[in-house]
């Protein structure tokens, strides 16, 4: 087999090489040498991005599984598999990221024997561990199909209702709990981001990001792999995203109003600039785009709105994890190049694994029609009839 050296492959190789060198520094010279974290800033980019954002970006899995299998919205069936794949990879890479960030990663299993039920971190750890297992089983039928093993698929189908309910339950718990992590720091986290409502915000934003990520990854993979995508699916997701963004925006507004911060957030300050950036990316721009019916029916605009939403909520998580502590600590934290390098490597691994999976497994393939759920409802039949293969050539 001959592998062509394309631009992106070269980029990938460079990122991986730098990442491996950074990993060497991390494991052979310690966290102090590899990061700009300190006693004042014990959590840096790896917690802020790899963990908080990583889990958030994987939310599409439980949102789509919920929509298709729980609420039986069958016209979204086409995006369940890529969403589950993204989620599974997201959680695996979250754990990889954790192995870099933990000071003693070789004791990560202590979580299972020294349990502290009062700790939010314990709850997050257990949920993530269990949910990754659930995702593994939700992902497994792809592999069995590729291998043409029908029997184990039947077994998994038998426990599917349990997997679905368990997966959504666990997601609800730990998506919100990532916000609860910060509840114990009322004196440290800046009031723009510290609120007793943090767990609700984290969950609500995960729903919005889950929808946005599904739009993003479907469109993106349609472009890259030359797949065809039904416009009706994107339109449904876009409508849901608009609603989710409004709910998020109103919750945020209500929180600031309730805590009497509306005046303060409008005054220019270091934190305010980052908050404005966050609010513009998360709400102002995508809501404005999606408010136009024309945009809601256009794959390009939907794609753009989803990118803004994702970037906005990434800003939100980084504001909470990093910017929100700077005033308290009294100095700025700027990640070291090795921190960026390892984060980039993990993201690149995500893209690469997604590519490999799509190539060898029936993620978008024909088999999916008789996949996990063999029956196609009337709705799906109807949806299939009005297939609009707009995106097939979008990437040309």
């Amino acid at each position: 087999m001959k592998i062509k050296l394309t631009f992106w492959r070269v980029v990938f190789i460079v990122i991986m090489a730098l990442g491996l060198y950074s990993s060497y520094i991390r494991y052979f010279h310690g966290l102090g040498a590899a990061t700009n974290m300190s006693d004042q800033f014990p959590w840096g980019l790896w917690i802020g991005f790899d963990c908080l954002c990583g889990v958030m970006l994987a939310a599409g899995g439980f949102i789509m599984v919920g929509a298709v299998y729980l609420f039986n919205v069958e016209r979204l069936h086409a995006v369940v598999r890529p969403a589950v794949l993204t989620a599974f990879l997201g959680y695996v890479l979250f754990i990889v990221g954790l192995l870099f960030d933990l000071g003693r990663p070789w004791y990560i299993w202590h979580q299972l024997i020294y349990m502290n039920f009062h700790s939010v971190m314990f709850e997050v750890g257990m949920c993530v561990m269990t949910y990754t297992t659930v995702l593994f089983f939700e992902f497994l039928p792809n592999v069995f199909e590729a291998l043409h093993w029908p029997t184990p698929i039947k077994w998994i189908k038998k426990i599917y209702p349990v997997l679905i309910v368990l997966g959504i339950l666990l997601s609800t718990l730990h998506q919100s709990s990532l916000g609860s992590l910060y509840l114990i720091m009322p004196s440290k986290l800046h009031p723009f981001w510290y609120t007793p409502a943090l767990p609700f915000f984290f969950f609500a934003s995960a729903v919005a990001v889950g929808l946005a990520m599904t739009i993003f990854e479907s469109t993106q993979s349609a472009k890259v792999f030359g797949r065809q995508l039904e416009l009706s699916v994107l339109v449904t997701l876009g409508g849901a995203l608009l609603v989710a963004l409004w709910v998020n925006a109103l919750l945020r507004f209500e929180d600031y109003y309730h805590r009497g911060l509306l005046g303060q957030i409008l005054k220019p300050s270091y934190e305010a600039y980052f908050l404005w950036l966050e609010l513009a990316l998360t709400y102002l721009i995508p809501i404005t785009i999606l408010s136009f019916k024309k945009a809601r029916l256009s794959p390009q605009w939907l794609y753009l709105a989803s990118i803004f939403t994702v970037l906005g909520f990434i800003t939100n998580r980084l504001n909470i994890a990093l910017i929100g502590f700077e005033t308290y600590v009294g100095h700025h934290y700027v990640p070291k190049w090795t921190e960026f390098s390892i984060t980039l490597m993990i993201v690149a691994m995500g893209f690469a694994l997604f590519g490999v999976a799509v190539r060898y497994l029936p993620i978008f393939g024909e088999e999916q029609a008789h996949a996990v759920q063999p029956r196609l409802g009337r709705e799906a039949e109807a949806g299939r009839a009005v297939v609009t293969p707009v995106l097939g050539h979008a990437g040309d």
Binding site: G30, D39, G103, N116, H118, P161, V165, I184, M185, R375
Partner: protein, 262 residues
């Protein structure tokens, strides 16, 4: 009865013997360079600060309801019945949540180590168990750092303020902060000037309560949410099942009909 440390900044002469004794007790290096360091770190659990010729000691406050013990996913911290908040290094996975969460920023990290530990004052638990004072209290030449029963020390602190009101701010730092701590501070100056968090900012509520309010709902939330999700699943799939059954019935009827005609 739990033990505590009363630090009276007005009696402190800044000799830093507590720093040295602490280092010796915890087998840490201590020389002129370390003595000159004015920040706490993984190799310096306590520090005597100087500001306007006035001194102030910093050390772990040994909260009555410790934040570190509450947040640690593997329970590597716990408060002993005698008062010290101690650390079990063999449990620690190195997540550093304790460092981020501690309202007094006491846990420090061995950033350069390949198998790093969290480091902080542990209030000499072995000495206390043996009926002795902490190393810092024992060596203090003026009694600025005093070890004893928490209740007795609070009474004594109040008495000192009452006898010499012009010498002190009328305040015992640690009496109620974050639900009370096992280190109590008397001073003529604001402790906030030396890096202690303001009382108003950290409040009197024990920090673990902020998460407790959410965590205590989880045991109820799990069965309720499972039922709701299961219910939705059942309802939304019931429709299909009924449709399928009806279709089968219809087929059966038709085949019976066609069978009868033949």
């Amino acid at each position: 009865m739990s033990k505590a440390i009363l630090y009276d900044a007005t009696i402190c002469i800044g000799c830093k013997q507590c720093e040295g004794a602490c280092a010796q007790q915890n087998k840490l290096p201590y020389d002129d360079t370390v003595a000159a360091e004015s920040v706490q770190s993984a190799h310096k659990y306590t520090v005597v600060l100087t500001r306007n010729d006035k001194f102030m000691r910093r050390l772990c406050m040994h909260c009555e309801k410790p934040t570190c013990a509450s947040v640690c996913p593997v329970g590597a911290f716990h408060k002993t019945k005698e008062g010290p908040v101690v650390y079990d290094v063999w449990k620690c996975i190195g997540c550093r949540y304790c460092m981020v969460a501690c309202p007094f920023n006491q846990p420090k990290y061995e950033w350069q180590s390949l198998n790093p530990r969290v480091r902080k004052c542990i209030m000499c638990p072995d000495r206390i168990a043996a009926g002795k004072q902490t190393a810092c209290a024992e060596i203090c030449p003026t009694g600025a750092t005093k070890f004893g029963e928490r209740d007795d020390l609070i009474a004594e602190a109040k008495e000192r303020i009452r006898q010499n009101p012009s010498n002190y701010l009328n305040r015992i730092y640690g009496l109620n902060e974050v639900g009370g701590t096992s280190v109590l501070i008397l001073a003529a100056a604001n402790v906030e000037d030396y890096g202690y968090p303001a009382s108003a900012k950290i409040g009197d509520t024990p920090m673990p309560e902020y998460t407790g309010r959410v965590m205590e709902r989880i045991p109820d939330f799990i069965p309720i949410w499972t039922l709701v999700l299961g219910g939705i699943y059942w309802v939304s799939h019931r429709r299909d099942e009924v449709a399928e059954a009806e279709a089968e019935e219809k087929k059966l009827n038709e085949s019976e009909k066609s069978g009868g005609e033949k």
